[in-house]
Amino acid sequence: MSGPLADLSYRHYADGVVNDRAWWAIARNGFRGTVKKKGFWVLTAMSSWWYAVVLVMVYVFEQIAANSIRQQAQDRAVDFISSITWNRVILDGVSFGQIFYLFLALMAGAGAIANDNRTNALLVYLSKPCTKMDYLIGKWLGVFLPLVLAMLLPQVGFFFYGAMSYHDYGFLRQDPWLVLKLPLLAMIMAAFYTSIVLGMSSLFNQGRLAGAISAAIYFITNFFTVLLGGIIAAGASMESSTTVSTPLKLAFYGSVDGIMIATAKGILGEDQGGLPLGGPQNNLSVPALPLWVPLLFSLVVAGLLLFLAHARVRAVEVVK
């Protein structure tokens, strides 16, 4: 039998061409696999709907300010744009984007380990010069990087559009650090979602099942968040929102969605979102927690799930 292996030239690969970056190969493969999906871009676009709405509104008001024949309308339009707190707009954008971030995380990560369990791919991964840590780091980055991209794209787009178009309305002056806060926020959120879906993924042999359970946890915890939000909002309408007790605040933020909103509030330095349109406050008006609280909580949850994933990832099922 003769074949292309006959020259044995591949033996030279063992003499210096090889590298030890299996984790990067895994991350790249995960990233490529996710960004190739149309759904990824559709969800990314959908997650930015709030920024689009705000930009359209501001554009309309800007046109009114420039072109209206009524001075009063011009003044009200300028007042509206000037009184926008841009960090609040971003806080709203982050909040309204949570559901899409969940779907993006599920798309990128629910099957990341579960499908490998199903197809025995771990036998191949771990029989190569690739350790469990390489595997987990690679898988984590393979989910994290597309999520950061998806979270950052709308925010960065909004930031640069705002910086160029609305600097006269205080866009850059209000928070000079916003340009750094946005990537920081995106990375923290992406890291949290990534750790959750990877941890869940490692527990199952079916990506869909892992995704369904992750989504169920998200929605069930979020249900209580919304319920508490309603109770708090009702209480706040009777008295000052600052009287919300700490346990109630903690409970309000005790969901995937809630932890991320609390983190966003801490980083953006805003207690609530909303445009200066008058009317009732939205359910983001629960006072923020100190930033370290959601950060510590998300760190513990993420660490726990990653520890679980580390324990579950193995090439052979060892019965003790």
Partner: protein, 304 residues
């Protein structure tokens, strides 16, 4: 040089001792790892790869320690698992190229190399299809291709003919034989199919109940103790038996014109004595040769 050298290796799953004080040096070439189901073959392979930690003992694979230098071991070794395995959602060429990248090849070379090994393993145009649509035979081939992609010096093949039809089995065995005898790659084939081992390997290691039972060249293992000779005459002859006994040769058994005889002499000398006995008895010798037994007999004796 031994491709794998194990000293007093014990592996435990809870209270079950899967490998018990296993000491063995696997020589270069193609070695068959034989044993009945549950003998510890797969555990041994997985220990070589560092998938399971030995409770005691040491070992090296291609000179690298199996507990301390696992990455180095896996760089030098290619592993074809028994179970179906693939990366979900990838085509054949994508799967093998990705396996090459995991092994440390730059992506462009991994792709080139993937095409080479897939061609070699006979996957042709099927390489562009999703692996999940492959037949059993194709899955076996692609598992072999991913094990070969980084140019390992040692291949560990766990039941490579599992689930194959007779034609696929023949082709797989041809590939394994070519890899070990034509391409200079050391191979350890783990199987309970004696014919597969006999077809591809020069040496065997027999494992039973987690212990090494027998090791050596297949020809030596098949050879019977005392160097008996099988003789075939044109016709059965009582005089021939008389002449044999006169020359202090022992008749082990006779079946019509087939005789198995034994002497305390070397095979050459025994052969001469057989010819002399036949001439004296006026019998015509059709053939004579050193008697051997089947590998199955040797195996059964080893695990008895």
């Amino acid at each position: 040089m031994a491709v794998a050298d194990l000293r007093n290796l014990s592996v435990q799953y809870g209270s079950f001792l899967a490998l018990n004080d296993f000491t063995c040096a696997f020589p270069e070439g193609c070695v068959g790892l034989l044993g009945p189901n549950g003998a510890g073959k797969t555990t041994l392979i997985k220990t070589l790869l560092g998938f399971v930690d030995p409770a005691q003992g040491t070992g090296t694979v291609m000179g690298a320690d199996i507990t301390r230098e696992r990455r180095e071991v896996r760089r030098r070794v290619g592993y074809m698992p028994e179970q179906d395995c693939h990366f979900p959602g990838l085509s054949g060429v994508g799967f093998v190229a990705y396996a090459g990248e995991l092994a440390g090849l730059p992506s462009n070379q991994a792709l080139r190399r993937a095409h080479e090994v897939l061609e070699y393993c006979g996957l042709g145009e099927a390489r562009y299809r999703n692996v999940e649509t492959y037949s059993t035979g194709m899955k076996q081939r692609i598992k072999l291709a991913q094990a070969l992609v980084h140019g390992p010096r040692l291949l560990l093949l766990d039941e490579p003919t599992n689930g194959l039809d007779p034609k696929g089995r023949e082709e797989m065995l041809d590939l394994v034989r070519d890899i070990s005898h034509g391409k200079g790659v050391n191979v350890i084939v783990c199987s309970h199919l004696l014919k597969d081992i006999e077809r591809t390997c020069d040496e065997v290691v027999v494992v039973f109940q987690g212990q090494l039972r027998r090791q050596g060249n297949i020809r030596d293992l098949k050879r019977l103790e005392g160097v008996p000779m099988d003789v075939e005459l044109k016709e059965a002859s009582a005089d021939f038996v008389t002449e044999l006994l006169r020359r202090q040769m022992l008749l082990i058994h006779q079946d019509s014109n087939h005789y198995r005889v034994q002497s305390d002499q070397a095979p050459d000398q025994s052969g001469r004595m057989i010819l002399e006995a036949a001439r004296a008895a006026g019998a015509q010798v059709r053939s004579y040769q050193v008697a051997t037994r089947s590998l199955e007999d040797a195996f059964l004796e080893a695990i008895r």
